[in-house]
Amino acid sequence: MIVGTQKPLEEIWDMIKGFRKVLVLGCNTCVAICHAGGGKEAEILASLLRMKASLSGVETTVRHAAIERQCESEFFEPVMDEVRASDVVLSLACGVGVNFLADKAGDIPAFPGIDTAFFGAVEKAGIFKELCAGCGGCILHLTGGICPVARCSKSIMNGPCGGTSDGKCEISRDVDCAWYLIVERMKKLGTLEKLFEIQPPKDWSTGLYGGPRKVVLEHITAPEPPEKGKESQGGM
């Protein structure tokens, strides 16, 4: 899932205070799980903004809505009337959702209400941890299922650096050394010898360093070929 945290109220207020009709639009998937931008958070933020507007002596209408995902067109349909009726939409989706909404919202500005942080998992209630960096070249089968790109502070590809100490990273005692975890896990799996295999240099161009990425599934996007019967009819 994508993990984010809500921006401070003052920062959000600075963005939207010049607008009269504000729609706070939640996203009920990833950012709802991390309590940052779901429908519930949208309702709470809308309430806080109404009170902030009143205390600031500004006449502002703040409404809220939420859809299941702000990264797919289909889900926007029920709220597009509300979007069009607004002066600004404060999206509580991740950056993907805000970008996508901006494309759909025409001349209505779409502003971010959360700071999108990373791809992560729920370690336990209230704790979210980065586990994948979306580098576009997965090597988890070689590293015991533990990603050195995301979980090593230096994204080192060939073992721990000199900063490892008692299984912890030199940047903080709260950060596990990913390579310590990899070695321990591979020992447990009996696959430690895999680490001795020489790997080619990692191709970082498949990550963000290679520019914006796109996946195209031609079997889904390509137009269907005309049916044979119809084609022959057309030719006659």
């Binding site: 939640g26 009920n28 109404r50 507007a53 809220h64 809505a65």
Partner: protein, 85 residues
């Protein structure tokens, strides 16, 4: 699919102003049915009184209380919210 956009019209929020003489705060008390509300009931039986500006709202359990209920209380003019459970 439900748009989840159903919502009440935004209530009109009181503008900030000075405190008039004789002002008493509006307090909304959320009370658990099984403990605090029963205690309030007992207080009534004992003829104990509390200010009329305190409104008691019974909940099946204060675990039901959410942030938004407290925020709505403030939006609708409560000066303080008291939760007992």
């Amino acid at each position: 699919m439900k748009p989840q956009s159903e919502q009440r019209e935004a209530p009109s929020i009181e503008k900030p102003h000075g405190i008039p003489d004789g002002w008493e705060p509006n307090i909304l008390a959320f009370a658990c049915h099984y403990c605090a509300f029963a205690a309030a009931d007992l207080a009534g039986v004992m003829r104990l009184s509390y200010p009329a500006s305190v409104k008691v709202l019974r909940l099946p359990c204060t675990g039901k209380l959410d942030y938004i209920h407290i925020l709505h209380a403030f939006e609708r003019g409560a000066d303080g919210v008291f939760v007992a459970g």
